[in-house]
């Protein structure tokens, strides 16, 4: 008798908990559905139409996608951000890892202040960072050109077509080295000190400890920074869009896929095609993120 009552009581409790769980989850899910899923489906729907001068919008299935896949502007932007990814991301993450290791080792005088100052650019909005660097690069009153001229060298022309990608890389490095450093530093702090105190007693040098103990221990944090950087590189927009204002000839409207989607949507007024480009770009990012994660995790399992 009491046994069945207990069970009934337990079931009642359980359903009360299930109800509470859904009441807590549903507000987020409702906003998520309307602000995330619906826009995605709506633009997927729009991307299957083509607007024509005569006859308005016509269903065209995947025509916008095949157009994008043979569009040199789309590919140009995509290969530019890929180049960005292969050059800028390693430089940035190696710098972040170096600072994180140096500050974690406790061998830097004033390390706490240094950590804060390196992280500080993250507080500066990308728009302001680009504005500021854009002026620093410029020939008018740019600090860099001033220094070059005072040394008797010519102006470096950092906003010329062949240098502007490198100049953009520098801005992104400046903004995000500190952010990635903090992620890696936080992960380094979680390694139990005993693990390398023992190695120190055995006579292992600091570099050796960093390489064999610390870096493997923060592999997952590194993976996280890599994924975030891949996503960030492919959606590059703020920096090139603002540099475009001061160097339109060097940047162009198809410098990155996002910039291209923006100008297709708002300058050419071709919303359907822009939706297809945004969709393709999203797909590329998700696929590359998943591939990188899978490769890293498989290697880990093999090791």
């Amino acid at each position: 008798m009491s046994h069945t009552m207990n069970r009934r009581h337990a079931r009642g409790l359980h359903s009360a908990q299930t109800r509470a769980a859904w009441m807590l989850v549903i507000p987020f899910l409702v906003v998520f559905a309307t602000m995330f899923l619906v826009p995605l489906f709506y633009s997927a729907y729009l991307s299957t139409f083509t607007s024509q001068l005569v006859g308005g919008e016509v269903f065209s299935a995947f025509a916008n996608y095949s157009r994008a896949l043979s569009d040199p502007s789309f590919w140009g932007g995509l290969s530019r951000v890929a180049l960005f990814l292969f050059i800028q991301v390693p430089i940035m993450l190696i710098a972040s890892l170096f600072f994180a290791l140096a500050l974690d080792s406790g061998r830097v005088r004033g390390g706490k202040i240094a950590r804060l100052l390196i992280f500080l650019p993250y507080a500066v909005p990308g728009v302001v960072a680009t504005l500021m660097w854009g002026y620093l690069y410029g020939n008018n009153f740019g600090l860099i050109a001033q220094v070059f001229r005072s040394l008797g060298l010519g102006s470096p022309e950092l906003l010329s077509p062949d240098k502007v990608l490198g100049s953009t890389m520098n801005i992104v490095c400046w903004e995000f080295v500190g952010y990635n450093m903090i992620i890696l530093y936080a992960a380094l702090r979680t390694i139990p000190r005993e693990r390398y105190e023992a190695a120190e007693i055995d006579g292992a040098g600091q570099l050796r400890i960093a390489w064999s103990i610390k870096i493997p221990a923060v592999k997952q944090a590194l993976l996280l920074t890599v994924i975030f950087s891949i996503i960030g590189s492919f959606q590059l927009f703020n920096e090139p869009n603002l540099l475009y204002n001061i160097a339109p000839n060097a940047i162009g409207t198809d410098f990155t896929p996002n910039l291209y989607a923006y100008s297709v949507a708002f300058k050419n007024q071709d919303i359907n095609y822009a939706a297809a480009i945004a969709f393709l770009l999203g797909a590329v990012i998700v696929i590359i993120s998943v591939v990188v994660q899978t490769i890293v995790n498989r290697k880990e399992r093999e090791a």
Partner: protein, 304 residues
Amino acid sequence: MTATSTLHTAELPQRKRKRLITEDRRRSTLLTVIVWVCVAYFIVPLVWLALSSTKDNTDLFTTFGLWFGNAFHLFDNIGTVFTNSGGLFARWLLNTLIYAAASALGATILAAMCGYALAKYRFRGRNAVFWLIIGAIMVPMTALAIPTYLLFSAMNLTDSMWGIILPSLVSPFGVYLMRVYAQEAVDDSLLEAARIDGAGELRIFSSIGLRLLAPGLVTVLLFQLVATWNNYFLPLIMLNSEDLFPITVGLANWQMAASGGGGAQVLFSTVITGSLVSIAPLVIAFLFLQRYWQSGLTAGGVKG
């Protein structure tokens, strides 16, 4: 990715004392010099910005960037920033504050409720919800911005404050962070005790759960605050009226006007001083709140 045990990194006082003694011997001059030279790279642009804000437009062009100009014009410049284009700058600051506060508060509450439920209840569909959120983290926000704009323009919601606030209420990463945090910080036995006392589930969440989640809430709040404060792409496409602009879009417009030459109505010195004024609140907030960043990032499952 699993939860971490990194929320409890407070070290034993005994060990700390031992470290302090050995610390002096361990300092490396070489490493100190290298790191501090690099620090200069991160700080010089900001110093330049601060110094340039004290110059009038002529001194900007004629004097060396890393020193003061012939006269000190900081307050004149700030005055110009706030009176230029009919005092729009103050309006932009206020808008940014409204967007950032509304989005951060809303997103944090939604994320806390959802993350807590995912961490603390077993219910059918829980895994499906969780994987949906994990998948959403990978969808880039700017790839979503154009679709959101298209939907909002179909509903006539563009060029309104809602166009900025509503999309910013969704923070899948915030839900993920809160779930990890709730697993760590909210003890099941505490919830059981409250249940035996007869407290309702929602009551337990609001009186016990939220209090224990407080440090995690601050972290998510800060992240969302910075994300909205920095947002440029979404307001750029969503808004047409200048008096709805956040500071990022407003400054970018001024920059364009200043670079345009010809009939430019905005001076470079105004753009530069405006930039300084707009970053000052965040930089100060960062310096004071920095420990929350670190604890939050640690909690974010970075250890996998």
